[in-house]
Symmetry: D2
Subunit: 136 residues, 4 copies
């Protein structure tokens, strides 16, 4: 069952997400969604949302999804395909869902959308930290 | 030959990189390096530099490297492996270099380090926009 | 609508898939599934199915899915996470489905399973070749 | 120091590589190179070397590089960018080198070439199996 208290505590301590205005919209077992509005201070030199900002939004949804089950879990890697550019003022929604879990690892898919338009497809791999006494 | 004026103009317009304090350290043909200090407002809920901040630093080095040759080039995708966590106050250096170019595409590798310690390994794919009259 | 004749003609010419005993199980718009039995000549030095054999199965499902719509489409890249080892005699099924299409590109996810067990998760990017007169 | 006996024993048991005619050309600490000639039974439905065959060649070089140090090490994931097509009769050389090692993990880059032409760029992640008494 999702440990929403742990996720909310994690988000309360996540100053990077706060500074980007990322909000947790929803969270349940192995899934989560986050939202961010593209601000003028988030664009790159081509006038589009910086890839790092879109990655940050997706990565935060991923972190909430993979920590919803309790034990501390970190991202070991992530890859992102940029599908369409996002512009200032657009509201982006990232939806993360676990694709598969195995041992202490997991693969999560995150789709970032602006309305119906896909902005990016992210896939992340997670690693659950060892917990004393769990015998893993 | 590197078109450093184009890169500097791009960085001057890159408000996301500016808000993260990312500086262009060096730029030449198909390579570039950027630097960022991890600030207290860049940590995630586990007290480490947020993956999105590290990705942003690497992505900016990548953008400078692939735009050094002139025509507007954008990232089509990127993947990152997180090797070691980075903490508040640490200075991170990202070094981007083109691995291969083919047609309008390129593959770039970016290593993010804190001193001698590797923090992350990033690989990005670029796509150069069509230019009228180039016949591509 | 899926152009199954084109897919069957492609598979008939795909000598690599034939030599691995890969069969097309099903194909429809932007989705396809393929099957392969792990033979004794497909194991690596650790006695498990070679990663390249599992990649080949997934890549063939991906190729069928992205060519089902007609114009010639090729893989531009692929990544695979190995979830569990596969052994000699096991029958593997790869199911490919398009995640998103944009311009001449597409992102496809392929899950390789042995029964209910996930063996690998593959994600590929496709590129549709230019067709004279299509104005792309 | 490279444990070449272990690598040669691994290759002697690698029936998949043998059936593809993959030879170990060179092996040293954390690096290795392999060679394969594209045979008529290795092409896909478009008449080019099947992506899975190119992946297999790169994956074998990767396996030799990451097992050269001794303890059994397996691939946990791999990604490949297809740079140029390869045709029947062409001789492909894959050169693998470790990019970074951390804990029981490693990142390796493999470039596949035909002469001077780059055919593919592969990046793999390895995982060294736990050894009794090593305390990891």
């Amino acid at each position: 069952m999702a440990d929403l208290q742990a996720v909310h505590a994690m988000m309360a301590a996540d100053r990077a997400s706060q500074s980007l205005g990322i909000e947790l919209v929803d969270c349940a077992d192995e899934r989560a969604s986050t939202r961010m509005t593209v601000r003028p201070d988030m664009v790159n030199g081509h006038g589009m949302a910086h890839g790092g900002m879109i990655f940050s939004l997706a990565d935060t949804a991923f972190a909430c999804a993979c920590n919803a089950a309790g034990p501390v879990t970190v991202a070991s890697s992530g890859d992102i395909v940029f599908v369409s550019p996002a512009r200032v003022g657009e509201v982006l929604l990232a939806e993360a869902v676990q694709r598969v879990g195995f041992g202490r690892q997991g693969v999560y898919d995150v789709t970032v959308r602006c309305g119906d338009r896909v902005v990016a497809e992210f896939r992340g791999r997670s690693h659950r930290m060892a917990t004393p006494g769990r015998g893993e």
